[in-house]
Amino acid sequence: MVTYDEGDIAPISAGRRFLARVFSGNHKTIGLQYLWLSLASVLVGMVLSALLRAHTSWPDTAIPFLASFESTPERYAAMRLLHGSLMVFFVLTAAPQLGFGNFLLPLQIGAEDVAFPELNRFSFWLTAASLIGMTASFFQPLNRGINVWLASAAVFSFAALLSALNFTVTTIESRTKGMTLPRMPVTVWAWFINAILSLLIFSVLLAGCTAVLSDRLLGSNFFSAAAFLAQQPQNLVRQGSLPVLWQRLFWYFAQAEVYVAMLPCFGIITHLIATFARKPVWKERLVVLAFCGVGLSGFCVWGYHMFATGMNPYAPLVFAVLASSLGIPAAVLLASWLNTLWNGESEFSTSLLFAIGFISLFIAGGLSGLFLARHDLARAAVSEDFVVGHFHLVMGVAATFAILAALFFWFPKVFGCRMNEALGKTHFWMTFAGVYCIFMPMHWLGLLTQSNLLPDAQRVAVASAGASIRTLVTLATIWTVAAQSIFVVNFFLSLLRAHRAEENNPWRSSTLEWSIACPAPEVGFGAEAPVVYRGAYELTDASPKEFAQQHLSPESLALAQKTR
């Protein structure tokens, strides 16, 4: 790790310096800490997914790690929950927004730090506590484990609210001189809009968790299982009230959470594609409006779920219209990405490959979303495998690709050197092929569920096909998880080389974070605030393939072009 002293600080002991660094309020340290948290979570979560698949395919084989637990269906469900919570909370929510956002948002708007650094540190440590809690809940007996999980989810929501407040206020108040709203990079727009969305939905998750916890611990009657079951048709009533509580919690937050994970990824992808294509973002303002549209309709889809207890007969129609209306901003974003790439001066770095992989996965996953958004079609298509395939493709894997694209892009800014391109590209292609082999066949499996309408002979044939597809999915999962070891090797090898500082602006980008040294020094811009003279994606007059850096005054820009 690189450390910086300001020179005039009195010498302090190594231990205290270590503590000061770990419990730092600096936005770059905190952003990096979020990224480490995500890296640990994604590795554990991925191994869990491989274990889950292996158990589905070969249920009789004892899995070493699981042998010490009682082998009940609940234990399997708890493992799925652990996989899901690690991935959704600590990877998809934490990495693109809290990790990269904390590190880069203040730099990209020329601020010294976030608006409330102490609050930022507090919310990071709350998040870390929540990670410990959620992991610990898996090792608890089921009933207690659920309480621990709920409490951890509440803590996470509170931390997310504090971060969202910080991001919103920072973007509004801490922009440097000249950084008007239209000049903000699209990444900042995405983090900003996402912070507002988080502010609205995580308070709802907090309220939900409070209510469910109060039901479970204090005996209150918010989600009374008895009252709920009494209203259900008798043939659907099952033993135990657990599913009701889980469903409640799920609908409270899950739908909008998808957009919380995706919005910062949209921003990152738009930014990377423009930078690599060496062209301005196509219809930049429309793209920002599309971000707002995603945020708004993402929020309204949540609103539907709140009232979706069979009260309003028109609710499915409203939901269908709202969910389908997400297609409009999605189409705008796709058009912008493809138009920006079109005739671009693309240098196919690993970062751009992951960005293009994101677009591919977003299209593939989005198409099956069209089936699920229509309530009449959903009835035919919906089944566990189909839904799992859909949301993993469009949310899980696509967002992971965006995170990887961002990591390859900003690695020099964070650590001081680029990651290895050859290893990166191998990793990309193996992962890209792997995830398609996992999640596309899952859609087919989902459609096969409808085969009970077929005559007997065909049904047998379909069932045997299903079994081999399942095995294919499991093998592809193991392949993809194994491919990630290339990434781990690449990551840590690059870290070892990190002291060899490279050029300051390796991607010839225009935004403010590249105007300072690599890796970004602890003091950021120092005492002197940068001044912004233009938008984030403006090309120079002299060479139409070169971005004009935001912080260069017109005179120094002209001077720079003359000397070159």
């Binding site: 450390t3 910086y4 300001e6 020179g7 005039d8 601020a111 010294e112 608006a115 407040l165 919103t168 206020v169 920072t170 509004i172 108040e173 801490s174 502010l199 609205l200 308070s203 709802v204 907090l206 309220a207 939900g208 409070t210 209510a211 109060s214 005996g219 209150s220 009657n221 918010f222 009374s224 008895a226 009252a227 709140m306 009232f307 009260m311 001081g416 002291h499 500082a501 050029e503 300051n504 010839r508 105007s515 300072i516 040294a517 890796p519 020094p521 003091v523 811009f525 005492a527 002197e528 940068p530 004009a548 850096q549 912080h551 260069l552 005054s553 820009l557 720079a560 072009q561 070159r564």
Partner: protein, 223 residues
Amino acid sequence: MPATTTIPEMKRIADKKDGGGKGNLPPVRGNGGGGEEGKNQPKRRPSPNRYYTGVAVGIVSVLMFFMALASAFLVRKGSTDWVPVRIPALLWLNTVVLLASSVTLEVARKRLANGDSRGFRNFWLVTTVLGVAFLVGQVAAWRILAGEGVYLSSNPASSFFYVFTGAHAVHLVGGVAALIYVALRNFEVAKVTRTVAADVTSYFWHFLDALWLFLLALLYLGK
């Protein structure tokens, strides 16, 4: 990079690197003569506006928390096990106390604006006392209900009553803490001025006041 790199040094490194003819443009900052002044300059001070924006954004978030519970209240109200809660008369008195605290808070701010530090202190103290009195009154109201055999776990309506009043009280404890902070803080050494701190606290306090009126109307009309 060695652990002893100073800012001016880093700037020089940055200059050298950027000028290296790799297609990068040299930065406009940090190239003005030596950079000895970089070391001892004061840190940039963010504007106090962030506190105003922060409290506004925080209010939206708190409002959303209560709206989620309020919509759950409206949905849950239709169910068969709903037994309406008779609202204790004490709550009306509490409401008057809370409204009065908003008025005294405004008087205190006016005194502060006029430079009447003593008057500010007195009215600020009255506000704090009224706030604590409201909290004590809420606890008393819970005890009255408990005496009638209406507990958190009795039925959905009572659960909502206790959680609404309880969550509001938790936020109000935060408000009282802010009032005490402003009263006791030595603003000679604080990051904010007394005016900013008093303004931000008063916004939050008035919001809690209005939120209480909303919750009371919801509980009274929605039973």
